[in-house]
């Protein structure tokens, strides 16, 4: 799962674009070339870019659902176990019923579904991390200002520096640079 290959210290190859349509069409080319470990960076959301990148739906709802179900079952178990372990008649209600303790089921469903969502977001984004190799590449910081960037990572199984460079050039990328923080440090 390491982001860069240790032998060469290369994180990936970055290409800069200057307009939203440019990066949109470049993304389509990279998607069609079959790369999987790559990303695009934009200063603002570009509508439909996820289609151009061929991204699938997020997996976070799966974690939300698991969290919600766990919460519901936890609530159910708490109420059932406590009334079995220490039976008390309260307000003439039965020891166990799905009606009177429903707020507990419901609240725990919401709570654990929220935890599941948060946890799922962290897991699918591989967070937390304290640094990112791209932070060492100065032009990258401008993707929060006025430039667009595509970075194809060296961890992609199809990564070949020459082919990646050719693809990005063909897609209209400028300032194509090998991002290798390890090499810079050495």
């Amino acid at each position: 799962m390491s982001a860069a290959r240790p032998q060469d210290g290369v994180f990936g190859i970055a290409a800069t674009f200057w307009t939203a349509p440019d990066i949109y069409h470049a993304c389509e080319k990279v998607r069609d070339a079959g790369y999987r470990r790559w990303d695009s960076y934009c200063p603002f959301p570009v509508h439909g870019l996820h289609h151009a990148m061929g991204l699938k739906r997020s997996r976070v709802p799966f974690f939300t659902f698991i969290g919600g179900m766990l919460g519901f079952l936890t609530g159910l178990t708490i109420v059932w176990y406590m009334n079995m372990d220490y039976p008390l008649v309260v307000g003439g209600k039965p020891y166990f019923s799905p009606v009177f303790p429903f707020p507990i089921f419901y609240e725990l469903t919401i709570l654990l579904a929220a935890f599941g969502t948060l946890g799922g977001m962290f897991i699918t984004n591989r967070l937390p991390r304290h640094n990112h190799p791209l932070f060492d590449y100065q032009p990258f910081l401008q993707t929060s200002d006025d430039r667009f960037m595509i970075v194809i990572e060296s961890s992609d199984p199809a990564f070949d520096p020459d082919r990646v460079r050719a693809l990005l050039e063909e897609a209209g990328g400028e300032e194509i640079t090998v991002v290798a923080p390890g090499a810079q440090a050495a």
Partner: protein, 435 residues
């Protein structure tokens, strides 16, 4: 083929049953409306001559179904105006056309008022309207302590005036919003946009109150011993769901072969699907909260309403128990789980399916909330029978008849005024909407 398609699209008055349509759909609907309502009136007549309340309730059920759809539409128009979301402009116009049916709905309420005033047993539907009516507790309505306490509110004159007032409020806002929106198409006067918002802001309050009290008067007072502060909100939630489901079906037809071809897209359906999910949860929340609070408090004046929806006087489980379970699973759980998925909201057959599903179980929900009632005398110690769940011929006739009338009014309005609010400042945003 393509040229006809383009001309259909560019002309606002053409399309499904519009000027360009070969099929005489409005005429067909009007015939269906006359037939359905005529049969419903025959039902009313037989019911009244036999002293049988069931056909009268058929009328109320059909009325409640279409009223709920129109009220939901009215609220959606006002909410879309208030929230000023770009995507909603196109679908709002469909709802404005649907509101053309409100005046007919108001007229169709009149038979029930006439029964209250002129029939020999004015309490055939709302039993508290007849002071002589004998209750299961052995008292007549006039001598019943609970009725005596509620008499200042529940009396014939006040009831009639309030009903007229509700329709006055609904019709005022429906017509004012329609007139303003169509007027914007004509003169492009920007101040109308602001006026829409002012109207909607006032309308949300006025119609919210009118809807709540209307639900109390028309539906809750059938069992007048019972009271629930959730009831108005329940009717609101159910109405919003029904209007949304009906709108989704309407939009499907208009986008598939009508005036919105190529204009209404899955991204609009996605937004409406999200609201449908929200209101599914809201309906469940309100319905359950009502049940939950009454269950916890355990006061006989309240619990009997759920008891008769569970068992007969002798304790045997009755038909409403199954209807209640159906509501939990089919009106909440299944649509809820179904609508959670992204694909359900953007794939046309799926959203169409769930809309039809919600509308079907909205009917069941109305039956559950309106139809069951205690009737006396009976040969058991508690002296009452419970009116059971049945669907009869009169129900179907009234549902179809009023529905055809509402759709006819919708299509007539659509043909007369534009299908697209072409001078709305946000129309471009609506047409170019992305998720």
């Amino acid at each position: 083929m393509s040229t006809t398609g383009t001309s259909t699209r560019s002309s606002p008055a053409a399309g499904l049953a519009g000027a360009g349509s070969r099929r005489p759909l409005p005429g067909l609907l009007l015939a269906l409306a006359v037939a359905g309502i005529g049969i419903g009136l025959v039902g009313l007549g037989t019911g009244l001559s036999a002293g049988d309340a069931r056909p009268v309730i058929s009328w109320l059920l059909g009325f409640s179904f279409w009223t709920s759809i129109l009220l939901g539409s009215l609220f959606f128009v006002m909410i879309f105006n208030l929230f000023d979301a770009g995507w909603s402009v196109l679908v709002r116009r469909q709802l404005e056309h649907l509101l053309a049916g409100f005046k007919w709905i108001a007229i169709l309420f009149l038979p029930l008022l006439l029964i209250a005033w002129f029939y020999r047993d004015p309490g055939i539907l709302w039993k508290w309207l007849n002071p002589e009516h004998i209750l299961p507790n052995g008292y007549t309505v006039a001598t019943d302590a609970l009725y005596q306490a509620k008499e200042p509110y529940l009396n014939k004159t006040a009831f009639t005036l309030r009903s007229l007032l509700y329709f006055g409020v609904f019709l005022f806002f429906a017509n004012a919003l329609r007139r303003n929106s169509f007027g914007l198409d004509e003169d492009g006067d920007r101040s109308r946009v602001q006026r829409q918002k002012v109207l909607s802001g006032a309308g949300v309050f006025a119609c919210g109150l009118a809807l709540t009290f209307a639900a109390i008067d028309w539906f809750m007072s059938i069992e007048f011993h019972w009271f629930s502060t959730m009831y108005g909100v329940w009717f609101f939630a159910a109405s919003m769901r029904a209007a949304l489901a009906f709108l989704l079906i309407l939009l499907f037809f208009q986008a598939d072969r009508g005036v919105l071809q190529g204009l209404h897209r899955p991204s609009h359906n996605y937004q409406l699907g999200c609201i449908a999910l929200a209101f599914t949860v809201f309906w469940a929340y309100i319905s359950f909260s009502q049940y939950f609070l009454i269950y916890q408090a355990n006061i006989p004046e309240e619990t009997f309403w759920y008891n008769i929806r569970h068992m007969n006087a002798d304790g045997t489980t009755n038909s409403w128990w199954w209807v209640g379970l159906t509501l939990i699973f089919c009106n909440f759980l299944l649509p809820f789980l179904f609508l959670l998925f992204y694909k359900t909201k953007v794939r046309i057959p799926l959203i169409l399916f769930v809309a039809a599903w919600i509308l079907t179980f909205h009917v069941v929900d109305l039956y559950f909330n309106i139809l069951p009632s205690k009737s006396a005398p009976a040969d058991n110690v508690l002296n009452y029978k419970v009116r059971q769940f049945t669907i009869n011929f009169w129900d179907v006739a009234v549902f179809v008849g009023i529905g055809a009338l509402v759709l006819w009014a919708y299509l007539t309005s659509l043909r007369e005024k534009g299908a697209i609010p072409r001078r709305d400042p946000r129309i471009r945003e609506a047409l170019e909407h992305h998720e």
